[in-house]
Symmetry: C2
Amino acid sequence: MAPQLDGYFAEVDKLSDHFIDRLAKAVAIPSISADASRRPDVVRMGEFLAAELKNLGASVELRPLGKQPDKPELDLPPVVLARYGSDKSKRTILVYGHYDVQPAEKSDGWATEPFTLTVGEDGRMFGRGSTDDKGPVLGWLNAIEAHQKAGIDFPVNLLMCFEGMEEYGSEGLDALIEQEGKGYFADADAVCISDNYWLGTEKPCLTYGLRGCNYYSVEIAGPGADLHSGVFGGTAQEPMTDLVRVLGSLVDTHGKIQIPGIYEQVAPVTSDEEGLYDGIAFTMETLHESLGSKTTIYEDKKPTLMARWRYPSLSVHGIEGAYSAPGAKTVIPAKVIGKFSIRTVPDMDIDKTNEAVYSYVKEVFSKLNSKNSLNVFAQHCGKWWVASPNHWNFRAAAKATERVWGVEPDFTREGGSIPVTLTFEQATGKNVLLLPMGSSTDGAHSINEKLDKRNYIEGIKLLGSYLHYVAEEPQV
Amino acid sequence: MAPQLDGYFAEVDKLSDHFIDRLAKAVAIPSISADASRRPDVVRMGEFLAAELKNLGASVELRPLGKQPDKPELDLPPVVLARYGSDKSKRTILVYGHYDVQPAEKSDGWATEPFTLTVGEDGRMFGRGSTDDKGPVLGWLNAIEAHQKAGIDFPVNLLMCFEGMEEYGSEGLDALIEQEGKGYFADADAVCISDNYWLGTEKPCLTYGLRGCNYYSVEIAGPGADLHSGVFGGTAQEPMTDLVRVLGSLVDTHGKIQIPGIYEQVAPVTSDEEGLYDGIAFTMETLHESLGSKTTIYEDKKPTLMARWRYPSLSVHGIEGAYSAPGAKTVIPAKVIGKFSIRTVPDMDIDKTNEAVYSYVKEVFSKLNSKNSLNVFAQHCGKWWVASPNHWNFRAAAKATERVWGVEPDFTREGGSIPVTLTFEQATGKNVLLLPMGSSTDGAHSINEKLDKRNYIEGIKLLGSYLHYVAEEPQV
């Protein structure tokens, strides 16, 4: 099947230096969305993408998103909306990626200049944005170009949505997706997002599930202003004393959430699912390596994967309003805000979970008999997402993976959230596939972020073949 | 007794505008010790004091203290050492104060320019340093000048030690005091420090005790770097989970320290002491006012004063290494350091207290069965101080108070620490008296710091009369 692929693969190999050069040009633009002073570079990166797409014959729009809510003097970078092909006899695939990057400074500890793509002899290509997410975004452009140069008909219509604020909360994007679900994206038959990673370093995967995230604040306040612990220690009830007791009641060292009404909502493990984990290419050694320690909760793969994918977890992130600097300060903070979040899974309900959290926190606090005041609320809630891995969208991606990598992909879920996934699913009503290009050691968000040359070049082949198998796959 | 005082008082009243002008000149110098860029102003303030003292006929030294330990490029401001009189037939009193101030910006919320002394019609004199501690320091200079102008013999030899780093840990001062205990300060018969406050706003007090302070860090670490809670939540043991449980075990909402071996060290309440608290001019209303809320542990004066003065307290100050900014961040911090301190009282021993803390924290942590690592240590320890209020130094101050204010002073202790007090006592081997000028509502360290004109002018009379009664007081 998909007989044109040999010619496509040969063309990708032939163009590989050119594709690496394209990535180098993109990495050289420091499109850091969190840094207001870099906003012109973010915009320049969007314009670079638009120009490249126009050169390839795509129709392109730079869609403005208005002002940045927390910095009203600052324009949000535009969303690049593009269409390549509009043949009604072909399927239409909507792909998403982002062209902004995390901050990076050489002085953070980078071995190379972060905004200079540096290709080592071992094929590691270091540079901020190489794997997250400029490599995958350019993968789609490269796939178009290789088809053109090889003279192979592009198998689908491609809709593209590339944003410039992903690393800063995707400001403004949800509204656009919701609006364009029946507009610009109306003829999409399925969605593909390449913005996550293999579970390890050797075996490719397709991702069909993500946990949700409910993020909570617990505010405890008493005195009118911060106090001196010498003068007031022993005479005033201290909000911080109450807060650490409340936060200490939420979860134990072994990850067991102490809040009644959470585990009760979790979907039971089916016998099908029981057999699923053993085959996954994942080892505790890799986990210890990425953790930088052996302080895991479980010793074995299966309970570890289940804890990451299909059970909720609760993490305490920190406290706002208390003393947080190095050194010693004898302050009694007047108002402290504890932050924690619960990663949610099927079939947990956002409202039911919030209710359980609120009533438990209030009960723990009331047992303290404190005169301080308590306020507990959710800062934001995002639902979990699970797609059907039996859909033709996943079948096509699985066949493409076998063709390019010579192995059946693992079907994985992820512990984290990519909120845009659910937004696309809800706005288009179509199946969404997460098709990663990079591997678990790429260090997105860290120093020395890299993309392996192999993952980039084979990844371009993967994206292109996926589109060919999409074109061939029967409806059901 | 002390018949010369009427003439002295009249002279102080006559010179009051001049004395306020001198305070205005001092407040106008923004001698902020915590701000390296203000160091020239701190030095200028020391030189201003030295010049004023020379004009009054004192012999003065500006004693350098070397470089600032945490900013080795920065010279510490000099200590002003001065002597007024060396008549071997007179007693010699050593006084201490500081000429540096806390930071202040109009934009912090000040109603007036912080470095412009602003005298309201109600006699409140607003300005940074007015009460802490430029007013009291100038009090000694004003007392000398009023004696000179009234033609009254100065009753004692006065040794003065004014430092410029008190608001930044008194860097370098301890070594100087220890060295000069048998040197520059060798002939001191007693020590007087005017750098604290009345318990309320109406009744003067003499302070004879301070709590000590042991400041602890609890470090819990696991992963090699901060983690993403989506990817690792549920699979890794989280240091923050352990830390809030450890911090939550230290003290309860009602101030009861949970660590065995603390209360066992506290000196029992004597029957003499039992009767001491009822007479103290202190009301729960004033406490609620300065607290800005009614979240006190006790409803009544006596247990409140005892909790502040003669019982230990434990405050949790904050956490270093966790997420402390506003907003939401889904981080699992790799290493977190909890900070708490215990205010210590007679007869608590520093080492014994540390031992009790370490072994309790280790025990609580070991019960968590965590793979994370724990390190608990004291950042700094300062001993409590209690002087004999029956010493002639206190008797003289009490008589002066009655003469100036027309009431017997309260004999008070304080919950906070003034470490230099103990250093002076140990270096000189003499009785130390804390003789406050300002009142509880002066707002040292806060916005709108003020000194009431009445407290300043009557305070100058008080300092002068104290020296007269010192001269008259029998040895035992």
